[in-house]
């Protein structure tokens, strides 16, 4: 019968119940062992089986200990196999077995088996730098196991010498079998052990740890090895406090994005992202496991920094769009580096003056600079040369080419334009003929017809057209627009502006260009921001008739406030939708819009209250006579955002902190949001932030939090933590009034 079939049925037996392993292993070993002359398939199966067996959580490590001694010769033979698959599995099995043999040696002083294990260990360590990568990663894991058992574990309290400590490496899960005994570590080795020298083991572990850390800082293009090492180190940190700080410190010096300077091949991109993510997962895990870790601040900074670097490295639009400002005028964005476009030069070339043209005029492209210059002013040719050569060198080839083209175009136009011949403008067609072909008197009909064909129809061209001063043409006054038309055209315009916004989005929203300060003109650069400013002001101020109503309402003049107002509303709607379409990225637009709204409300109420002593300062909820738009818009936007915000969306924090005015109703939304258990933390974070950085709303924040604490059972722990600092008296009251909370919650919900 096929040996693999037999083996497989033995294995399924063991998979069914882990207790069979001790009886199955002796039966299997002769088939897969070194003396069996097994086929490659059998050896592969055997190595896999050993790895699986000694890793299995279904039988306890106590039972594994005697069994593992019997497989040492087999493992040792497998390590010298010529198939990588066999070696890989053998190293995995060795990693599971090493702690067991180690513990066995500690208690039994069993020298021969320990020598076997040492031989396996040195075999593996020898391969570590030279084996194929697939094997090397397994060696890394083996080394990590060695480090684990050869460094002192958590200081064990001799009184509670067992069940609570974490289970040893590579063995059962406490849930599966009985309570674990001690963590296998250096702490178990007595100082006077005759086989195991305490100091040697410790020194070896420290050396091996250095080797692992060297891998992390070594070849960054070998992501396989680096991520394997990082992921293996993760388990050492919580379980071996003595070396945890060394490991974390080393990882914090690791730059996962070092490859950024090498060519951005798809492979390098994958590698970099993967290493970055792996590092992050490891560090986040460290922080989560031990929130009081002294390293946490540094880890935090490191993660922040890495995040920024990653954005820099991978955000290609960011890197490639350094000069985005000129793009609104319809240039090809793919040529953005050319700051001075080709077209404008020819556009700037003024048309030739009508009538006869001198060569000087023909070649003068810049009428402002040209005429004043006269070469004859240079008496000394040497001087002229010394100026001319550098000037010629510095000429931009494209500019020169454009200029030449412009002149050429002029020249061709001159040649082609018989209606404006050089000398006698007033001369009839015949004159011209005479000039070119003086001796050719008779014309046949055909020629005349041809000439007439090519000439512009005579009745359209008055004789002395060139000299006649043109009377300025005035368009007749357009009929006034109806209200519907105003609305329609207004909407259309808005839609077009928003359409343009989305086409501008990519370059400008991400550009890193330094923000200009207060002195900038709001909408001078034709980028996304300036259009947003224009829109927001159009929405807020146009109907307000504030500054210069003519300017904004020209097209709607005579249609009264109503039409304007409707347009403002539709702009607001459009802005709202625009922001919500991609609210995380467009939150800044929302904020600047709300700022405009707020500003306008202020100005309006000031105007309305002119004379009275009403002070428009303060953040409170002082009832304003002018019923502004800010609050309405802010609430609407916030409601919409909250519907989509997830617990991790810190953007909301930014939004809440940057909108100009907060009141109770707005902050109550945080409470509402906290009804979703996933977003409690976010809501509290917002309140905490506002409490710290916006003192005017402090009280409201506290009130909202108290409210939340009283009514939201799940938010209680988080809220009380902060209330302890802000308003401890509530907490003490809270216990007393607990009975009333049911009523209280009803009340609050009614608000």
């Amino acid at each position: 019968m096929n040996p693999l079939g037999q083996l497989e049925s033995a294995r399924s037996l063991a998979l069914g119940d882990g207790r069979y392993y001790p009886t199955i292993i002796p039966g299997v070993l002769p088939i897969i062992g070194p003396n069996a002359n097994a086929s490659l398939d059998t050896r592969r199966w055997g190595a896999d089986f050993l790895a699986e067996t000694f890793a299995s959580p279904t039988w306890p490590s106590d039972a594994k200990e005697p069994s593992c001694l019997t497989v040492l010769p087999t493992l040792r033979a497998y390590l010298d196999d010529n198939d990588t698959g066999v070696i890989k599995s053998a190293v995995q099995a060795a990693a599971s077995i090493y702690p067991l043999v180690y513990r066995h040696t500690i208690s039994s002083h069993d020298s021969p088996n320990w020598q076997h294990m040492l031989a396996i260990k040195s075999n593996i360590l020898r391969r570590m730098d030279t084996a194929p990568p697939g094997v090397r990663v397994c060696c890394v894991k083996f080394v990590q196991q060695v480090v684990l058992v050869q460094t002192p574990g958590q200081i064990a309290d001799p009184r509670v010498r067992s069940p609570r400590l974490p289970p040893p490496a590579g063995n059962d899960l406490s849930s599966v079998q009985r309570p674990e005994q001690n963590d296998i570590s250096l702490a178990l080795v007595p100082r006077d052990h005759n086989l195991l020298s305490h100091s040697q083991l410790e020194a070896e572990a420290s050396g091996l740890l250095d080797r692992l850390l060297d891998i992390v800082h070594g070849d960054h293009s070998d992501a396989l090895l680096v991520t394997a090492t990082l992921n293996a180190l993760g388990m050492l940190i919580p379980r071996r406090p003595t070396i945890a700080s060394k490991i974390i410190g080393s990882i914090l010096n690791f730059n996962a994005l070092k490859l950024a300077n090498s060519p951005m091949t798809p492979k390098n991109k994958v590698i970099m992202k993967s290493m970055e993510r792996t590092t992050r997962a490891l560090l986040v895990n460290v922080m989560k496991r031990n929130p009081d870790n002294p390293f946490n601040t540094r880890i935090h900074q490191y993660l922040e920094r890495m995040h920024h670097t990653r954005v820099d490295v991978f955000d290609e639009s960011k890197r490639k769009r350094p000069a985005p400002v000129e793009q609104a005028d319809g240039m090809d964005p793919s040529k953005r580096q050319r700051v001075v476009p080709i077209v404008p030069i020819t556009q700037n070339v003024p048309p030739l003056p009508p009538g006869p043209v001198s060569y000087r005029e023909l070649f003068t492209l810049d009428p402002n600079g040209g005429p004043a210059f006269d070469v004859q002013a240079f008496q000394d040719p040497e001087q002229l040369l010394s100026i001319l050569v550098p000037v010629l060198q510095s000429i931009d080839a494209t500019k020169l080419g454009d200029a030449i083209n412009a002149v050429r175009a002029r020249y061709l136009a001159l040649q082609k334009a018989p209606p404006q011949p050089a000398p006698g403008v007033s001369a009839p067609l015949n004159d011209e003929e005479e000039e070119y072909e003086p001796d050719f008197e008779p014309e046949d009909n055909e020629q005349i017809v041809n000439q007439l064909d090519s000439a512009p129809p005579e009745d359209m061209i008055p004789d002395r057209v060139t000299n006649a001063p043109l009377v300025p043409y005035k368009l007749p006054q357009a009929p006034p627009l109806t209200k519907e038309e105003v609305q329609k055209y207004g909407d259309g315009t808005i839609r077009r502006v928003f359409g343009m916004l989305s086409s501008l989005e990519e370059p400008s929203s991400r550009s890193k260009a330094p923000k200009r300060g207060f002195n900038r003109l709001a909408a001078s650069s034709y980028d996304r921001d300036s259009w947003v400013t224009i829109l927001a002001r159009l929405a807020t101020r146009a109907s307000a008739g504030l500054d210069d109503p003519d300017e904004n309402t020209k097209s709607e003049s005579g249609n009264g406030e109503k039409g304007n107002f409707a347009i403002s509303e539709s702009i607001r709607n459009a802005l709202h939708n625009y922001v919500m379409y991609d609210w995380k990225k467009r939150i800044d637009i929302g904020i600047s819009w709300l700022n405009e709204e707020w500003y306008n409300d202020r100005v309006q109420s000031n105007i309305m209250n002119k004379g009275s002593k009403f002070a428009a300062n303060g953040n409170g909820s002082s009832p304003s006579v002018y019923k502004g738009n800010y609050r309405r818009c802010a609430l609407r936007l916030l409601n919409a955002i909250i519907a989509f915000a997830e617990g991790t969306d810190k953007v909301l924090l930014r939004f809440m902190s940057e909108i100009p005015e907060l009141d109770r109703e707005i902050l109550m939304r945080m409470k509402k949001m906290a009804e979703d258990p996933e977003r409690i933390d976010l809501a509290i974070m917002v309140l905490q932030y506002l409490y710290m950085f916006r003192p005017p709303v402090r009280e409201i924040c506290v009130d909202v939090l108290v409210d939340m604490w009283q009514t939201n059972e799940r938010a209680k722990p988080a809220a009380s933590k902060i209330l302890k600092r802000w308003k401890p008296e509530v907490l003490s009251q809270g216990n007393a009034v607990k009975m009333e909370t049911a009523n209280g919650s009803l009340e609050v919900k009614a608000i």
Binding site: P57, N82, D222, L224, G234, P266, K273, V284
Partner: protein, 287 residues
């Protein structure tokens, strides 16, 4: 009605390890497939199938709730006869409810797909048929019985009790070689949880992320992309065994000598070129 196709599929495959002459693809396979509860078939169009006598990596697909993306991928991988299990990383199984603020929430590892299906059908059959939930659930209940939580998974614990799941053959020992998550959040959660699990098996596992939006269409496309990735990986792994097989380590030369593991970044990079809309991540972790 759902039990039969599963049995028909998994029975012939279970004999795989012992079979000397490899059984041809299960004969009962192309039976006029039972229609799902709302008229959809439970098998994707016949795609590539890895013959049972070839080497196979073991796969694991992971999304947030073990309902949509991971299950679609589970089905596609299992249909290609790749050993597959699947998990969710969320704290609870969350499905859309009547409104955005009222999701339907279930516990992992206990609530069966069938129970969820029944409950939702009672709650509002029309709504959930229209948004595809019932459809999805009836697909899922033909794949396995309940959503499983990744964090509760004990690697190396035999899964003999899952023998009827699709893609079960090959996963009996409860170990995998490749994990594929469908969202960066899940990728992070998986890496993190593997740290918590502590790598007790000392067994390397390639963890991938393929970013897929959580809707039915994207899940379908994403499933194809995952299958593509899985087949590429499996082919490379199988090749390694051939190259380094009987002829021995010295047999190959140059790139042919590269083993499977070190080829993974290249395979992923090549895959990424083919599927540029699903940003990928990868890490070698330990179970």
């Amino acid at each position: 009605m759902s039990a039969d196709p599963r049995l028909a599929r998994s029975r012939p495959q279970q004999q795989q390890p012992t079979a000397v002459p490899p059984p041809p693809p299960p004969p009962a396979e192309p039976q006029p497939n039972v229609m799902g509860m709302d008229g959809t078939t439970n098998t994707p169009p016949p795609g590539p199938v890895v013959p049972d006598d070839k080497f196979k990596l073991k796969f694991c697909t992971i999304c947030a709730s073990n309902q949509n993306r991971s299950m679609e991928a589970h089905l596609q991988l299992a249909s290609a006869h790749l050993p597959t299990i699947s998990f969710g990383t969320g704290s609870l199984v969350r499905l859309p409810g009547p409104t955005i603020t009222q999701p339907n929430v279930y516990h992992f590892n206990s609530t069966t797909y069938r129970a969820i299906h029944t409950e939702l059908a009672q709650q509002n059959a029309q709504l959930y048929a229209q948004n595809g939930l019932l459809n999805m659930l009836s697909r899922n209940l033909n794949i396995k019985s309940f959503p499983e939580r990744f964090q509760d998974w004990i690697p190396g614990k035999p899964r003999l009790d899952h023998a009827e799941d699709q893609g079960a053959p090959g996963t009996e020992a409860g170990i995998v070689d490749v994990m594929i998550t469908c969202e960066e959040r899940c990728f992070d959660a998986v890496l993190e949880d593997l740290h918590n699990k502590g790598g007790r098996l000392n067994r390397p596992v390639h963890v991938f992320n393929v970013d897929i939006k959580d809707n039915h269409e994207e899940a379908r496309v994403g499933g194809k992309a995952i299958l593509d990735l899985a087949l590429s990986l499996n082919e490379a792994a199988a090749k390694e065994r051939e190259v380094h097989g009987e002829s021995g380590w010295t047999g190959g030369g140059g790139a042919a000598r590269d083993g499977f593991d070190e080829k993974v970044p290249e395979i992923l990079a090549a895959w990424q070129e083919r599927w540029p809309n699903m940003p990928a991540l990868w890490s070698l972790a330990w179970v």
